[in-house]
């Protein structure tokens, strides 16, 4: 979680200093979701991610220097600079791709689960998406298919309360949990700020899916601390500052987990500080690497269109 937090802070910094092209959607505040779920996966399990994907990618095993290189459009990046922030993909870590189409991962994750079942590989796939994707009809088509064919896929809905600048209650009728249930998909709601709770719920669902008992749906209640994207700084018109402060003060996933580790005597403050320090150094080195890495030669533009 700390790695993701530190990664995202550097993304914000790079962007603010006009060193990063395009846009970026920060995952700060939601770290426990990606970490809790991905820790329950095997390395060769699959994920699909979203426009807010850095956390998922890192949690599934991506290394920061190749991610920064991609975010800066460098040849050394995961996608040779062709994808950027919203399209990090990596077969090596089972990452089928971040996706800039809301709900765009639903078909892909379900299809990977189909192939897993067909080939008997036992792999599970997790489809991460924001609660905004509940507006995309294709999600229901996929849940129906997954349940009909008992596919090993988990739909991980990150409810951070906002579809961009609109509160989800203005866009979402009825009860979210009833939606997967309507298609027969097993569903569970979890405190998305509690990494252990997320991990426990995800593990149970992933095991169940791997056993052949069909898909699952996790509703992960969480919050993004920052703007919808790095440029979204004046947010008062759509959400109160106090709301943000409350989440940060009371529900920070990293602080909550640190407190638990300390209380359980699993780690002392020095150990935690050391981890933070090491990660900070790693992230700084990764940024440095990416900043120095060369851009692709313009001639590369015509490569990789067709396999």
């Amino acid at each position: 979680m700390m790695a993701i937090r530190l990664f995202e802070e550097r993304v914000n910094d790079l962007y603010t200093r006009a060193l990063m092209p395009g846009l970026a959607h920060l995952y700060i505040g939601e770290e426990a979701v990606a970490v809790g779920v991905c820790e329950a996966l095997q390395p060769d399990d699959y994920i699909t991610s979203t426009h807010r994907g850095h956390g998922h990618c890192l949690a599934k095993g991506a290394v920061p220097h190749l991610m920064f290189a991609e975010l800066l459009g460098k040849e050394a990046g995961y996608c040779k600079g062709k994808g950027g922030s919203m399209h990090i993909a990596d077969p090596g870590t089972g990452n089928l791709g971040a996706n800039a189409i809301v709900g765009g991962g639903a078909g892909i994750a379900t299809g990977a689960a189909f192939a897993s079942k067909y080939q008997g590989t036992g792999r599970v796939s997790v489809c991460f998406f924001g609660e905004g994707a509940l507006g995309q009809g294709v999600l229901y088509e996929e849940m129906n298919l997954a349940q009909l064919w008992k596919l090993p896929v988990i739909y991980a809905c990150e409810n951070n309360l906002y579809n961009e600048y609109t509160h989800y209650s203005e866009t979402t009728a009825g009860d979210i949990m009833a939606r997967p249930a309507a298609f027969g998909v097993a569903a569970q709601a979890v405190d998305g700020q509690d990494v252990r709770a997320v991990h426990a719920a995800a593990s149970a669902m992933i095991d169940r899916a791997r056993r052949g008992d069909g898909p699952g749906f996790l509703l992960l209640n969480t919050y993004r601390y920052r703007g919808h994207h790095v440029g979204d700084v004046a947010r008062d018109y759509y959400r109160p500052k106090q709301e943000e402060q409350r989440w940060m003060a009371d529900r920070d996933p990293i602080a909550l987990h640190a407190a638990w580790l300390l209380a359980q005597g699993i780690a002392d403050q020095a150990a935690l500080d050391r981890i933070t320090e090491e990660l900070t150094a790693e992230m700084d080195a990764a940024v440095d690497y990416a900043m120095k890495a060369p851009y692709p030669d313009p001639g590369r533009v015509d490569e990789d269109i067709y396999a």
């Binding site: 459009g73 460098k74 800039a100 030669d297 313009p298 533009v301």
Partner: protein, 344 residues
């Protein structure tokens, strides 16, 4: 990415209202506001269109004036709200839907093409579908392959739709008003870069620009540059550079791909004897093919050489700046090609 603000557009002399310089985005907003004042049947639907005024802030202020009943935030359901707008249009409203990124028209093609475009014809003319689908287009924002496409060729291919693709604030305002008052489904493409970067004279108050009337953005003698949307600025920039080396370029903007003003295109090329068509859509099977064919057929005997075309490179739009910059036609590309066409 263009850094400077381009100043674009002329106001025909007949306009008598006060004229200000405003941006392309402001012109869009002004057209919407005026039409909403004029006709209570006009409603706006889309994602984050109300308080947020869209991702591009183009609609800022409308909800304050017209209220949440007419400027309506929707769920992220492009097919859903576009389909809803079809039914609302058939039963008395004039809905305008906002497709945040033009790439998402892929999600609404069934509603637009199989429903909106065909309802009038299939019913033997008995139902009408007066709606506008506003969609953005254009690359060079480092938004990568799923947020940079210019897909206006698709609806242009479909009978029953009209397609507008303005390049200047003046045209944007006048064409959008025409679109809203049209009794047919109109797909209206707005270049994202132009919102803030293209400024030009626009009369206050009401005026409309008829569909199917091309505009000669610059007169010239040696070559006709037929350009659409963002490419009009590129063509004008190139024309200025060409002037310096003694090539006089005429720039013609069709303004609507359908209906299409074939006559103006053909006449211009009959005069100049050379034509280059420039469009930001993907190069193959797109807008340039149709326009070039129309010209090649209509001005065949006056042509000094083949009609040439420039479009976006036939690749998904890459994220990395040096790669993206190699995908969309730039002034330099136009100048080089025209020099070749003119043997200069």
């Amino acid at each position: 990415m263009p850094e400077a603000v381009a100043h674009a557009g002329r106001v025909p002399p007949k306009a008598d209202a006060p004229v200000r310089e405003i941006t392309f985005g402001e012109a869009i907003r002004e057209a919407l506001a005026e039409e909403m004042r004029r006709d209570p049947k006009v409603v706006l639907l889309g994602e984050d269109v109300a308080e947020a005024g869209t991702a591009f802030k183009v609609l800022k202020g409308l909800v304050e004036e017209f209220g949440k009943d007419r400027v309506i935030d929707t769920p992220i359901s492009e097919a859903g709200f576009t389909g809803l707008a079809v039914g609302a249009a058939m039963t008395g409203l004039r809905p305008i839907v906002d497709i945040m990124f033009g790439d998402f028209i892929a999600l609404v093609m069934d509603q637009v093409v199989n429903q909106a475009a065909k309802s009038h014809y299939m019913s033997g003319g008995r139902w009408k579908v007066p709606m506008v689908i506003r969609a953005t287009m254009g690359a060079t924002r480092r938004s990568a392959a799923q947020h940079s496409q210019s897909l206006h060729a698709w609806p242009s291919h479909v009978p029953g739709l009209k397609v507008a693709i303005p390049s200047t604030p003046y045209d944007a305002k006048g064409l959008l008003k025409t679109a809203i008052r049209d009794d047919n489904p109109v797909v209206f493409f707005e270049d994202k870069i132009s919102y803030a970067k293209v400024k030009g004279p626009v009369p206050e108050g009401d005026y409309t620009i008829p569909f199917g009337v091309a505009d000669i953005k610059r007169e010239g003698r040696d070559v006709t540059l037929v350009a659409t949307s963002s490419m009009v600025q590129v063509a004008l920039g190139a024309a200025a550079m060409l002037e310096e080396i003694g090539i006089s370029a005429e720039v013609v903007d069709p303004r609507t791909t359908w209906p299409l003003d074939e006559k103006t295109l053909i006449e211009s090329v009959r005069k100049t004897s050379r034509a280059l068509v420039i469009d930001e859509g993907s190069f193959r099977y797109g807008v340039t093919g149709e326009l070039a064919s129309v010209i090649a057929e209509g001005a065949f005997y006056e042509l000094d050489g083949p009609v040439r075309r420039l479009g976006a490179r036939h690749v998904p739009i890459p994220f990395s700046p040096p790669l993206e910059d190699a995908t969309v036609p730039a002034e330099r590309d136009v100048v080089d090609l025209v020099r070749q066409m003119c043997n200069k």
